[in-house]
Amino acid sequence: MKILLMGNPNVGKSVLFSRLTGVHVITANYPGTTVGYSNGFMKVGAEKADIIDVPGTYTLEPTNEAERIAAEMVKTGDIIINVVNATNLERNLYLTLQLLEKKIPIVVALNMWDDTKHLGIDIDLEKLHSLLGVPVIPTVAVTGLGGKELVESLSRAAPGQMLAHTQDERWAAVGNIVRQVQQITHRHHTWRERLSDASVRPLSGMLIALIVLALSFGIVRLIGESLITYLLDPIFNQWGKVVMQLSDLLGGSGLFHNILVGRLINGQIDFVQSLGLLTTGLYVEFVMVLPYVLAFYLVLGILEDTGYLPRLAVLMDTILHRLGLHGYAIIPTMLGLGCNVPAILATRILESKRERFIAATLISIAVPCASLQAMIFGLVGKQGPQYVVLIFGILLMVWVFLGFIINRFTGGFSPELLTEIPPYRIPPWRIMGKKLGMRVWQFIKEALPVVTGAVLVMNLLYTLGVFDAIAQFLSPIVTGWLGLPKEAIVAIIVGFIRKDVAMGMLAPLSLTANQLVVASLVLAMFFPCIASFVILTRELGIKDMLRSTVIMVVSALAVGGLVNLILP
């Protein structure tokens, strides 16, 4: 048996899915969080049912990629749990009627039931049930209320009695139902609603955005740095002593020693420069990068779950129009500051292929992931904060100019912003904590084997002299145009695999501050890491991926070379 969870965007399908199956999926307070579908299992009576979290859609006549997936999945279901936002019955029931026409057994989950009370909405459940002819269960997915009743009601799921309608007939039917079951009493504005209104007005909105972004940045830095200074560095100092003993045991040199411990600097282990598996490999991931990844996803989780991101989309819309996008593209972009992989996937919430191409290309080039950012803070920051500001400033400029150029030279036009602005909510802390845990675990799970592999292969290639040959071959570009020592080519090549390791490899080269700026920019822009590249190919198709790659290589070399020429 296959059960589909379907409904409008941002009604809580994914939260309900996690409740029903125990499988945790990423949830957030903005329409379009789920862009692919997730599978899970659940017991219905004695039977084990397959349950699927379908991306949200307003209608079965899709307007974007995520909605297209939803419209196609309908046919595959045996039962549909139609999740409805109880505070917006009218619009949600339109999809309900469309689903009822499909003659598939349906149960309606009237979610966010708790919100109806303080909003002054009164819904007659009995009447709604008799008008729709299917079970109607009030639920509060974030607390789990109504979950049991919902599962029990599945056995009473009934196919719809509604006959095929036209759009107008459907809306008339919806209006008719709403008039009979819903009463709204006026309530005064709460502080959350006032704040909500202020967020989408120009002056107050910009002020709020500045405060939110400054606070976010401050908190990420504070948590990241505190974790490093007070927790992880002390631990690794102890660890260093253990590895030093191992180094003595291995005789202080040789291939095996180099792979595990790396090269000793003045007879000592240097966690940044030794480049061994147990030294730099662990240190880069767990001390330099992980704290920032953790801090970033904590702050992102708060921004997502309070519902701030769609407001940022409204604020950024005018600028993004110049780049051939609309405001909502800011959400994948913000996700990209964590990791480019989910960011490129999230471009599915954009309506056209053209927008998806522009957004994904800009993310790949000018939006550095948290791992890379952490390394830039860690390595370049030592030379002075002005160099870090310079790097991020240039990347921001590249993002704007490149977007402007691609927009000019790509045919077609981009549609406009149209999005629901969800109410501000206090984040459901437990669910948010689980999301944070999932994302951090995902990072460790993906980073650890790749980093280990990269350090291993790197050491072998070093020993075999392969890098020297490549470095020699490419030195005109790297030395002549970018002004970097030819050894930096190794780091750039490793950047294909992982950006953080690549940055780490620049450390032993004793680059000047300006060279570090150029190298960081080239690493950020040149080529997405292999994981992002695979997703980029899958999401854009081969042809657009190739176009995107050409833009990457050309712009990275152009910007790197120009910055090298301009910087004193």
Partner: protein, 94 residues
């Protein structure tokens, strides 16, 4: 530029009936949606998200430089791109 002209034209030709485009409303003002001008693509997207003829909406805010207009319909807020907002005709409440 064409956006501005468009906006202007609708404003002139229909303001005699007392109808104005959504972009001309002031913040906090309410009114009834009289008509959505424009092709099926636009009306379908707007309809799907709950913006259709005959509904009462309240304008919450609009961004500078032809930024999106945010409106409220019953308990739901929707942000609408400027170009689309010029195509929504409103009869403001007195």
């Amino acid at each position: 530029m064409f956006r501005f002209r468009n906006h202007h034209r609708i404003g002139i030709s229909l303001s005699e009936n007392g109808f104005i485009p959504l972009t001309r409303m002031s913040d906090g003002e309410s009114g009834k949606i009289i008509q959505v001008l424009g092709g099926k693509g636009i009306t379908d997207r707007l309809t799907a998200i709950g913006i259709r003829q005959g509904q009462r909406i309240t304008r919450i805010g609009g961004m500078y430089l032809h930024g999106p207009v945010t409106v409220q319909i019953e308990k739901t807020q929707v942000a609408i791109g400027f170009g689309m907002a010029t195509k929504i005709l409103i009869e403001p409440e007195k």
